[in-house]
């Protein structure tokens, strides 16, 4: 079941919608909105670890989420 869920739900943090973000464990509407705002402000995620900069994403929560998301580039430097 967990594997099936992981296969279905690997989200690209840079394109996921609010609804999709809410499917992540420990992510409700408020946190989904914060993730989207962070993404907007920053011009996209470069690494999954950057989630840790968002208030409400504890190390514990991040560990639950990290295998369910990927980052495909939108913007970046070198």
């Amino acid at each position: 079941m967990r594997i099936a869920a992981a296969l279905l739900l690997v989200l690209n943090l840079n394109t996921a919608t609010l609804k999709e973000l809410e499917t992540l464990p420990g992510v409700g509407p408020v946190l989904a909105k914060r993730i989207a705002e962070f993404r907007e402000k920053k011009g996209g995620f470069r690494r999954v670890e950057e989630l840790l900069a968002i208030p409400g994403v504890s190390e514990r929560k991040w560990k639950m989420i990290r295998d369910l998301v990927i980052v495909r580039p939108v913007e970046g430097s070198s």
Binding site: R46, L52, A53, R72, S77
Partner: protein, 401 residues
């Protein structure tokens, strides 16, 4: 983003007796007068020391000595000065050695990305003549281009991406290496090739980027199905920086047949949603030539395509770049503006339950009746529930059903 928090990180590292600078793309952007979106820091401090200085950190590439530092609510990559050992499989170094600032810069890809900035003394430290190349608008590999590309084959495509993004030309020796090594791009995973291709198309000057892909022979390697045409170049010229990747790929592939498009998007491992959108863009483009003759209901159904704005924009590009005619585009655009969401997809007047209540037996006929009623509604001939019920009773006598 403002550099304040990044500068504060540099200060704190220095207070502990380490060397530290801003490095890479952010310095390039600052020299160019663009506000960077990310700041990276290079330091003499070892990862284990960086972790001790800042309360919130996450190791993101322990083997490369990269630590993500969360400071004032923002993430910053703090990397220890290093030089890379021999590369394996054309992409990853076998190991790294921690070195000094100069060596750290010399291992990087292009001179424009090899600048250090000392925010305390407010000066750029340039070991690679990167400032000269920014002035001259040139992408130049640091050191021997063939060696740099040999280490990491993705750099062949990255040279073109920076050229496209910044509107720069590629310096002759670097260009010669791009052309000579184009066939080796296959050593890079298709996902990475896809990501670079998307970035070449979406970060600015897509036409310049794709022309370089064509002239270097990379296009033939990555997209053998695609033909370079004046149409294509003009179309790409209309692609705005910041477009979504799937839309950009739709513009790139719009003149191919749908079967080739399907094959390409599967090969490049686009996500299901992206594949679907790209194929839909190409597949529905010809329908724009018929919009003026469609019934209102057909046109409204056409407008219900997901992300219809993209379809419309592709039709505009197609018309302006040559190939489509602009009258049909203008007609579709006007209608799309004119109609509200509610006009295009109104609440159904009746449902299957209503049909059952009227005594019809559920079956294939239900769909037919409901579609017909919706057509009448979209065409503006039915406006309310009672009208719809009368319509059904009149057109579908029960004994016939």
């Amino acid at each position: 983003m403002k550099p304040d928090a990044a500068i504060d990180i540099v200060r704190r590292l220095r207070d502990q007796g380490h060397e530290a600078y801003l490095v890479g793309g952010c310095v390039r952007d600052m020299v160019m007068g663009i506000e960077p979106s990310d700041y990276d820091i290079a330091t003499s401090a070892r990862p284990e020391e960086v972790v001790k200085i800042f309360p919130r950190t996450q190791s993101v590439g322990a083997q490369f000595g990269v630590v993500l530092v969360i400071h004032n609510g923002h993430p910053y990559e703090v990397a220890t000065f290093r030089s890379d050992e021999a590369y394996i499989d054309g992409r990853r170094p076998t190991g790294v050695v921690f070195t000094d600032a100069k060596q750290d810069v010399l291992r990087r890809d292009f001179t424009i990305n090899g600048l250090l900035y000392d925010p305390v003394d407010r000066r750029v430290i340039d070991h690679v003549s990167g400032q000269r190349d920014i002035q001259a608008k040139v992408v130049r590999a640091i050191g021997d281009p063939r060696k740099r590309f040999e280490e990491d084959k993705l750099r062949i495509l990255r040279a073109i991406r920076f050229g496209a993004r910044l509107g720069y030309t590629i310096e002759p020796a670097t260009w010669e290496a791009v052309c000579a090594m184009a066939p080796q791009i296959h050593q890079v995973s298709l996902e990475r090739i896809r990501d670079e291709l998307v970035r070449i198309l979406t970060e600015g000057q897509a036409a310049h980027g794709v022309r370089m892909l064509e002239e270097s022979g990379l296009r033939a390697q990555i997209l053998p199905e695609l033909k370079w045409t004046p149409h294509l170049e003009r179309s790409l010229g209309m692609l705005k920086a910041g477009s979504t990747g799937d839309f950009a790929i739709g513009v790139l592939l719009r003149e191919l047949n749908v079967a080739d498009v399907q094959q390409i998007v599967e090969r490049l491992k686009f996500s299901r949603a992206e594949m679907h959108h790209i194929a839909a863009l190409v597949e529905n483009l010809p329908a724009f030539s018929k919009v003026a003759h469609m019934s209102i209901s057909s046109l409204k159904r056409f407008f219900r395509l997901a992300r219809f704005e993209d379809h419309l924009e592709l039709a505009r590009i197609h018309a302006v770049a040559g190939g489509g005619d602009s009258e049909n585009y203008a007609f579709a655009s006007r209608k799309y503006q004119e109609w509200s969401e509610e006009d295009i997809a109104p609440r159904p007047l009746i449902s299957g339950e209503d049909l059952m209540a009227l005594g019809y037996t559920p079956g294939p006929l239900f769909k037919e009746i409901l579609t017909r009623v919706e057509d009448e509604q979209l065409d503006g001939r039915l406006h309310d529930r009672s009208g719809a019920i009368n319509f059904v009773i009149r057109h579908y006598p029960k004994e016939q059903a």
